[in-house]
């Protein structure tokens, strides 16, 4: 029973869509609303073909994929798709810049685990989406972008608002497609969602010419089998190799100085719980990378916190001196390893990653395991339990543990509190925000010093509460990402930590936040500088401050700017105002709030491993630097 014989077996549409065979995604996602399903059921019953436009098919396909919220901006070529949206169950968030739509989709995906969807028009809209696509690609964020394209007969003619979107986005998407006929749309959507959410997640893009949206097609919904058959070259491997898993278990038990190097992939694999069990079972220390903050509770005594360029001394040094690194869903980024040749020289490496290309890309692993982090961790746990039952004894790690706790005591994260009358310390602001935050507050950040302070001084005890741009380092990420997170969890408190540089890149999305009733809160740390660049110029360019002074003490007036966009604006200049301002912000729930903290311009982020230096050459806070010998 199939419309015009187009799709064999399409009577199984509904059953197959929610069967677990295609992906883990299908088992966790629900249909958005009953409407399209009911429509479809009616048509199946009547056995008449459902003639609809490509645009209607596109929106229906998105509904079938379980999309509840999408972010976008209409324009000429995508216009037809905006018409059926009026009748759709999907909430469309109208942004103020297409980059905002992309980052909102990312924020939504980060916290919910569901793919974020952005829809924009052709040409400049598509190019504006390039930054979020690359950001999502670097951080493995599931995202589906839909871009309008000029009509098929105009493609290649340099038509108005034409650009080679598929060409431009080829190296910043996991996959992209130009859809040339309306009939192909449902399959293109299914493929895009399947690819974006399975294996190593990432952004996909469908480029849809205007006539493809306008022309009619016979509605159908491809089955899982048809989707898989259409992608013969795509078979993510989720199950780790049993022999490698056995080896990993042995190595873990036999190591005297092991460290678990937990990366963002654990969040993508929903493996936080499995990780916790592995830690409990083995008593091994964990470091959580910038992307993985929250995957293991900061409160836990075995969590050493964040490693890397601005990681804390203990996390950096523990990795550096370990004899075994259990890398789980982490990719040995240069911000973690420092100088690769000098990175953790004595450590054996167990590397668990779903992407085979990550194995050996930076550091050759002793035990490479390609697979889904959750499955692999669970299997490693089983193997360890077997070994323990059969009498294997775990190596003595007590000497190592006392060494690590010694470092923790000697080298806590520290900053010098400001003297009365001086500007605020940004770290103090973050601590106050942290201490006054309601439970399960979601934190997003831009990129720079404020991002590092946030990741260093916040206590992340829950996964999916930290959203930031790790790989690409996209300034302006925090406000749109916070809006996306708020759209996913409207009841959660969402704080965006921002700097005055970042804020001025995407602040216009606060208009979106106000009008779409997505009341986020922004903690703007205004030090009047591009702080991180300033710090590098101070340390490595003889204090020659070239083009970093933003002079944002009066222009813009951030409070007025915020209020003009419908937000509450609060300015904070002294330490005693910090707590009350945050409490006030936390109590406002009907509109966005921007709290501008006037912070100390000369404050630097410590510890620091200079770019390209070895992790052994960590620069500590000036007050700790003379004790550096003890980090050995």
């Amino acid at each position: 029973m199939c419309f015009f014989g187009l799709v064999p077996g399409c009577s199984n549409t509904f059953r197959n869509h929610f069967s677990p065979t295609l992906s883990t995604r299908t088992s966790t996602r629900k249909p958005a609303k009953a409407r399209p399903m009911a429509d479809q059921a009616d048509h199946v019953q009547s056995q008449t073909p459902d003639r609809i436009t490509g645009a209607q098919a596109l929106i229906r396909a998105l509904e079938m994929e379980g999309v509840e919220t999408m972010f976008g901006y209409p324009g000429g070529c995508i216009l037809p798709a905006y018409d059926p949206l009026l009748d759709s169950s999907i909430r469309h968030v109208l942004v103020r810049h297409e980059q905002g739509a992309g980052h909102m989709a990312e924020g939504y995906a980060h916290v919910s685990g569901k793919p974020g969807v952005a829809m924009v028009t052709s040409g400049p809209a598509a190019t504006n989406l390039v930054t979020p696509l690359m950001d999502a690609y670097m951080d493995s964020v599931p995202m589906v972008a839909i871009t309008g394209q000029v009509a098929t007969n105009a493609i290649g003619s340099d038509a108005f608002q034409e650009c080679d979107t598929v060409g431009i986005t080829r190296s910043c998407t996991k996959h992209n497609e130009l859809v040339m006929t309306s009939q192909d749309l449902p399959m293109a959507v299914r493929q895009a969602f399947h690819i974006a959410t399975t294996g190593r997640p990432g952004p996909t893009l469908i480029d849809v010419p205007k006539d493809v949206l306008v022309n009619e097609m016979d509605w159908y919904w491809p089955t899982d089998e048809e989707v898989l058959a259409s992608l013969p070259g795509y078979r993510p491997n989720v199950k780790g190799h049993p022999r490698m898993i056995k080896e990993a278990a042995k190595l873990i038990l036999s190591s005297e100085r092991p460290v678990i190097y937990a990366g963002g992939g654990i969040l993508k694999a929903r493996a936080a719980e499995a990780l916790a069990r592995l830690v409990e079972l083995t008593g091994i220390h964990v470091v959580t990378t910038l992307m993985a903050r929250g995957v293991f509770p900061d409160d836990h005594e075995l969590n050493l916190g964040m490693p890397g360029m601005h990681g804390n001394a203990t996390a950096v040094t523990a990795m550096q001196k370990s004899d075994l690194l259990v890398a789980l869903g982490s990719r040995f980024d240069d911000r973690i390893t420092g100088k690769v040749d000098a990175f953790a020289e004595e450590a054996k490496i167990i590397h668990v990653d779903i992407d085979p290309a990550e194995q050996g890309k930076v550091r050759r692993p002793d035990v490479p395991i390609v697979g889904d982090a959750r499955q692999v961790i669970e299997e490693i746990i089983i193997e360890i339990e077997k070994l323990l039952e059969t009498g294997t004894v775990q190596a003595d790690t007590s000497a190592w543990k006392s060494k690590v706790s010694g470092w923790q005591e000697q080298f806590p994260m520290m900053y010098e509190p400001s003297e009365p009358g001086q500007a605020l310390k940004p770290q103090f602001c973050i601590e106050q925000l942290r201490d006054l935050a309601p439970e399960r507050t979601i934190l997003t950040s831009g990129v720079g010093q404020h991002q590092m302070y946030a990741s260093q001084y916040w206590k992340f005890n829950e996964p999916y509460t930290w959203v930031n741009s790790g790989g690409l380092g996209t300034m302006g990420f925090s406000i749109p990402a916070a809006i996306g997170a708020k759209a996913a969890f409207p009841d959660a408190t969402v704080w965006a930590i921002d700097g005055d540089g970042c804020f001025q890149m995407t602040a216009q999305e606060l208009v979106t936040a106000t009008l779409e009733k997505l009341p986020i809160k922004v903690a703007l740390l205004n030090n009047r500088y591009l702080g991180m660049v300033r710090q590098w110029q101070e340390m490595f360019y003889d204090e020659r401050y070239s083009s970093v002074f933003l002079d944002s003490a009066e222009v813009p007036d951030f409070v007025m700017m915020a209020e003009s966009m419908g937000c509450v604006g609060i300015r904070v200049e002294s330490p005693e105002e910090v707590g009350p301002a945050i409490e006030k912000a936390n109590s406002i729930n009907d509109r966005p709030v921007v709290v501008e903290f006037r912070t100390e311009a000369s404050e630097g982020v410590f510890p620091m491993v200079p770019a390209g230096a070895s992790n052994d050459d960590l620069i500590l806070h000036p007050s700790q630097q003379d004790r550096k010998d003890q980090l050995k």
Partner: protein
């Protein structure tokens, strides 16, 4: 980048990748731009539909140390349209290439050019007063020799196709799937 040693027959860094892809628009661009993005040079590339018209086979000759090659094939394997990647051992595969050249051949040296073409079992496919257009199909090394000899007479225009290759049949299965070993089984994007 060093060039392949064309005459020793023991080209050190000479790797032939045989990449089976879906025959769809843009696939070649995906493959070649991946090399470009990662900073690797393609020495020769030939592409045409394979035995199944839905598939194309791309023969890529690259000149790399094996470690970067491993990374490039893994990245290549991540492309959704790539079905299979095999590395062909140059000593255990059949390689062919086609050369077409227009060579100076004034009457006084025409017979010499003709005899060179005969020795190589090439063909003269077009004749004019001062030039000949010749073709030769064969192993790329043979084409190199032929080209060098023709150069002595003066090559006006030259086109080579880039090499295509398949494994030899006489020594068992030769397609060594390099993106399918224990450590790299499956694929992810």
């Amino acid at each position: 980048m060093t060039t392949i040693n064309q005459y020793s027959g023991q080209a050190v860094n000479h790797h032939i990748l045989s990449v089976l892809v879906q025959n769809r628009p843009g696939v070649l661009a995906r493959v070649s731009s991946l090399f470009a993005r990662r900073g690797y040079n393609i020495f020769s590339l030939a592409v045409a539909p394979a035995e199944d018209p839905g598939m194309s086979r791309i023969t890529i000759v690259v000149d790399l140390e094996s470690a970067p090659l491993e990374q490039i094939t893994k990245q290549l394997f991540k492309l959704i349209d790539v079905i299979k990647i095999s590395e062909l051992d140059p000593r255990r595969s059949v390689e062919r290439e086609l050369l077409i050249a227009t060579v100076k051949a004034p009457p006084e040296q025409r017979s010499e050019v003709q005899s060179v073409v005969d020795i190589f079992e090439g063909k003269i496919i077009a004749v004019a007063e001062e030039v000949l257009t010749v073709s030769l199909e064969g192993h790329p090394d043979k084409l190199d020799d032929f080209e060098e000899l023709l150069d002595g007479y003066g090559i006006v225009e030259l086109q080579r196709t880039g090499r295509v290759a398949l494994p030899k049949l006489d020594r068992g299965a030769r397609l060594r799937s390099i993106a399918n070993s224990a450590t790299t089984s499956g694929k992810a994007g």
